[in-house]
Amino acid sequence: MKSRWPIISLYGVLTVASIIWLVPVATATMISILPLDESSKGWWNADFSTVTLANFGRAWQYGLSQYTLNSVIISLVAVALTVTLGTVAAYAFARMSFRLKGTFYFLLITTMIVPVQIILIPLVPMFRTLGFNQGWAQYLGIAFVHTAFGAGWALFMMIGFFSQIPDEVLESARIDGAGEFKAFQKIALPLAIPGIVSFLIIDFVFVWNDLLIGLTVLDSDHRPLTVGLAILQAPHLNQDDLISAGSILAILPPLVLFAILNRYYVRGLFVGSVKG
């Protein structure tokens, strides 16, 4: 089959599709590095000697610095919590038998399917009751929500990685008198690191990209960058320079992480898909 396909048309189609796929990001990049009066003529007509990073500086001062900081804190806390609690729980689901295992698994896995709207409304009064509605506590509150909401994905992905560890390896640790937690910590955890990294990236992308939960449960000083971007996007203000700089800023961290850990990311998604 590979030799029969007309190679030129194959690469032709793929190249055209690739260009179509890259044009939106290229457009945003161009607008973000050109002064507003240049990009207003259409970036393809612009004088590229005027290229500048000034838009990023202005967007940063315009308020994106706070939003970016919020996004960083929320993502770090939420991912740390989800990965830690998820890893430990996934190990138990993969390697131990206990009563109500099926019920717990079913309940946790429904978070993958049921729309987030089912929890959204009561979160607001709940945050007030639990004291998560002010100041720094909000970061912790939303991190817990992300943890609960990511529980299904965490189990779905990481159970597979723990199941792959051969029985004998863990058994030898137990015979040596190591407790269950020791066996997990010293043997299973190091072996599952690639799987954990895969989940970590996917969870980071998920949390970093959230708009709806942040918009709903956080006050305006603690909202993430996605919300900041939506606020910049006021249709009647002519500030494409700031908006484009903001959008590039917002897509950069997950993109960099993806570039560095590409292999793990793709692999994580492979696992999720092959199992279904």
Binding site: L10, P122, L123, T226, V266
Partner: protein, 341 residues
Amino acid sequence: MTSTVESSRSGDRRAARAHRSHRAAVTPYLFIGPLVLVFAVFYLWPAIATIASSFFRWGILNPWQTQSPADWQFVGISNYGDTLASGDFWNATLNSAIWLVVFPVLVLASSLPLAILIWSTPRGASFFRSVFIVPMTISLAAAGVIWTFIYNPDPNKGLLNAALHLFGLDNASFTLGPLEIHAGHWLSNPGVLHLGFADIRLVNLFIIIPAVWAFAGFGVITFSAGLTSVPDELLDAARVDGAGRIQLIRHVVMPSLRPSVIVVTVISVIFALRTFDIVFVTTGGGPAQDSEVLAMLLWNQVFQFLNSPQGGLSAAIAVLMSVFMIVIAMPYLRATLKGNK
């Protein structure tokens, strides 16, 4: 899984094992406890509260508080009745239905051929795959913002209108049977498809396209994974028998991709129903309510007009959405559960 190898051992060791199995009764719960606790407080409880609150009349200024149940007016199922009788609900349902159909179809229609093409390349597969996967890391909020630059109505700024301008089509308006198109203003009023029973607003399509752009990578990855399971011997055998390219794809490749097609469809449907972010940044549900999806109607009702007691109505919508999704995804979920045991 914890059952140890059966063999004759010294009594010493057997005693140790008995001790361990006693401990094992508690240990698993210590492992899952923290996650289950967070899940119970931040997911299960609010989910139950949503269901319970859908039977009451209340607003977000006077929300669900267990301490003061007297402030709440029990209304039975009338929130559901009112919701099902409201024009806003059916308008949002229609827009969500457009998402539920068009989004998965476009994701499949773009990612399946791309994955097969990439699979057929002798070289550069991983480069092309990356190109389509990269937008997956982009939030739908950012994707929406980025595409507003493409859609900019001014042909001097927006690439799409600039391209149409070359053909003199940048402000074309025409009617094709039931289809009415106004080129140019892609995110305000690009046209309508008049079906006898409903008017499909094309603005939804132009919000779906950026979402497909961002999501197609998931399809490409999933199908690439599926394609690795196509048996080489089968391909060779079919080729020896003189099967053409189309036949080969139809009879050998496609059957192995069935599970992947199901995964991509189910996950796209799940995402399509949740849609909020990209509508929020591109049109905010407008013009008027032409692109208001269920998630947005729900949000607007309860959070935008704080003094109106519509919390119960929004909760009812959330419950209806969840029931719908559970029914749709249950067979898939059951298969997944079975696979994991």
